[in-house]
Symmetry: C2
Subunit: 458 residues, 2 copies
């Protein structure tokens, strides 16, 4: 039963399990206490901090263990912003950050701060120049992920760090997706990560704050973890997190090459075998294990269920999933197709046969979903040189399917007007035009929803 969603959470690494079980007996006591159980717990905590700091590339006293990667991000951003309040109240983030970063930015804005959301290229990457352009004299902090969690694209962290350094602005790097593969290059100021992404247990995040970087923890005071992570330390999980980080790093060199070959195989084969598919994300500067593609005329949730029935666990940034009505902010910022979106993220140790079987069953499943969705004909009416497709009340991917059905029935130069109140249409109709070589003219307000104008040019 292949699990291809390591970017959400990786199963526990054997070393993590072993370390966790061993330290349940030794690490449960309060490390602040003077008696032997406390001293043993303190020793385990100190050793874990040293190991994790070495893997991060910082000093042990720069590293705090938080209760999750999300907490590390919330604490890191709030603490860095508060410490530089006198400099200004401006924050820079990329448009494709993890929700923990974007929600921190929203909270900061709600308190009166100002936020610049740096756009990305179609690959999902920012440019150092766009960060440089966003820096202001009142910028308190900039944030950039090391690599994107939905499409795997690596960000130019070292170059952005240089721009920030030149401007005297600290840079917080969310390394959640990449830390298992290696340390973050460049001169970052704060770094966050999450253990369950590299096969460590849930309940452990990392927050590193370089010496000399101003930091003022927010919220009620607490003496634990240098005041940066309130609450009783979860030492067995911390020990397991540090041990497994060291273990996955030792396996990295070999496994990175192998997984990169497997994802390259998927990148190539998907396009060959599935018609009307777009592979998204940078083809070269990317994490080894992640590959993301979108299938035209496909409902993401239905495809996920079909794959689940075949034993494959993947995730989707489509709007067509039960938990959300809007497409992933990442795909949106990249301007790529979101419908029928599938993210495959391979955990270390993924078997080649499982990938091959995935590639064997995928084309049939996509065809099946398309057939299932192809049925209902829209109410169409000719209006001068223009064809109107009324897709009001229809959800992604129906509006695009209806557009594709009728584009051939207007003459070249003629126009199709798609009426839709589905949020995803705003992203997917332009993306379809780009894939199909048709001209996307623009969006107009309509009585209900919007009208999307497409000119047939081919």
């Amino acid at each position: 039963m292949p699990y291809f969603d390591a970017a959400s959470a990786a199963p526990l690494h054997p070393v993590a399990r072993q370390a966790l079980q061993a330290s349940l007996d030794e690490g449960w006591a309060d490390p602040a206490r003077l008696y032997r159980e406390g001293r043993r717990a303190r020793m385990l905590l100190d050793a874990a901090r040293e190991a994790a700091a070495e893997a991060v590339g910082c000093r042990p006293d720069e590293l705090a263990f938080t209760s999750s990667g999300t907490r590390a991000v919330h604490t890191g951003i709030a603490g860095a912003l508060a410490a530089r309040r006198r400099v200004g109240r401006h924050l820079i983030v990329s448009a494709v950050e993890h929700s923990s970063v974007l929600h921190s930015a929203d909270a900061f804005e709600a308190e009166g701060g100002s936020v610049t959301r740096v756009p990305v290229l179609r690959t999902g990457a920012v440019t150092a120049a766009s960060y440089a352009g966003a820096l202001r004299t009142d910028t308190a902090l900039a944030c950039l992920q090391s690599a994107n969690h939905e499409v795997g694209t690596e960000q130019p962290v070292a170059e952005v760090a240089e721009e920030c350094r030149a401007a005297g602005v600290p840079l917080l790097v969310d390394a959640a997706q990449s830390l298992g593969w290696g340390p973050v290059e460049g001169d970052w100021s704060l770094l966050t990560a999450s253990a369950h992404k590299w096969g460590g247990p849930s309940g452990v995040g990392l927050l590193a704050v370089r010496k000399g970087v101003r930091f003022a923890p927010q919220g009620p005071a607490d003496e634990r973890e240098s005041g940066r992570a309130p609450g009783f330390e979860n030492i067995p999980a911390i020990v397991a997190a540090a041990a497994s980080l060291r273990a996955v790093r030792a396996e990295t060199a070999q496994e990175a090459v192998r997984l990169r070959e497997l994802t390259e195989r998927i990148r190539t084969a998907v396009v060959e075998r599935v018609p009307d598919v777009e592979v998204v994300g940078d083809p070269v500067r990317r994490l080894p294990g992640i590959v993301t593609f979108s299938c035209l005329y496909v409902d993401g949730e239905t495809l996920l269920h079909a794959l689940d029935r075949e034993g494959f666990s993947v995730s989707s940034g489509s709007s067509c999933t039960s938990s959300t009505l809007t497409p992933s902010h990442v795909l949106k910022a990249m301007g790529v197709l979101s419908e029928g979106n599938v993210r495959v993220s391979l955990p270390p140790g993924t078997a080649e046969e499982d990938v091959e079987r995935f590639l064997t069953v995928l084309p049939g499943l996509v065809a099946g979903v398309r057939e299932q969705l192809g049925a209902p004909a829209p109410a169409t009416a000719v209006r001068a040189e223009e064809l109107v497709v009324d897709a009001l009340g229809r959800r992604c991917p129906i509006p695009v399917i209806e557009l594709a059905k009728v584009i051939g029935s207007v003459p070249r130069g003629g126009m199709v007007r798609v009426l839709s109140d589905d949020e995803a249409a705003r992203l997917d109709i332009p993306a379809w035009c780009e894939m199909r070589g048709q001209e996307y003219v623009g969006e107009e307000p309509a009585d209900q929803g919007s009208a999307y104008l497409v000119r047939r040019v081919s």
Copy 2:
């Protein structure tokens, strides 16, 4: 090697260990995902929530799992205060709450809120009348622990809850010390707890918010745990926490009686065997496993080390410990002796022989510490009818030892003036006077530190 510090952290309950290990395989995936690993994780989380809610005495949808008891308190207080901002900015806490509550109150005060700290009786208990007296029309929230963590005294939660209800003010109960023993009685509005206090794993706290209680989570938004606990859920630990809560509750009836007998034995025997000792906390309305006493003329840290060498792990609220220079705020609020303070908190399953051995070695260890400290004679000088003891620069328990040495050398009605710059003297000199039947006249400012005036009356 008897561990007598269960009130800090209890060793992992066998049921917790079993549940943790089992759910490491089933509960690592993201419960928000649609595939089978996600669905399995969701099922485990739902089942744990139901079990924990039953033990708390609330509905499952009223209960969120946080990353620690401290986080539950921080989140609960901040969310309740923010939701009632329009009612007012007044918070009530008892003077003997856990530091997570008191630090939340400090943070609220720093933001412009006003805080009433309700005093306690010499037993450590508040009265419902004093809470009633503290309630104001602008009171947004009241907080009260179910039982005290340092002396074991149970608080009149149900009566205080009634006062709060009558005033329309929500009551948050910190049930960290008592939840393993049973549900909290009375009509509370919010409740917090911590799994590692009942033998669950570290990394799990509970926050219950009754339906109808206004609550506005603070900080960046997050969709997990009803928005009340950001970050990836730690499901294996949550499962273990819920399973062990159910297990300890099943053992409670029998174990509570047994531990109560053991702590009663300590209460009695300590006073019989150790001279100049004060047992503190309510002798009747108290938790089964906690007993706290203070030994005159003893340095708490030295006694802890001596006990540790004999294999006993206990903690101390004395100022004479390496991590702090001020006595425990609890002992201070109770107005009892803080020097040579020892808290014994027995975990379930404590063997009677271990308690007997503790009572056998304790008198000798206390005598040894006293002998060790008894040596240096102070510089004393007669001034009219008054004797001056210069204990400047000397740390607890030396000022009290020197006072005791000289009290006999002034006539009845005469005065001893103790010069001290040690924070603990302010608490311990009046407490010594009460124990010894001497009159504590008061404190006067001095060139350095303070002068404490004691009249010999017996």
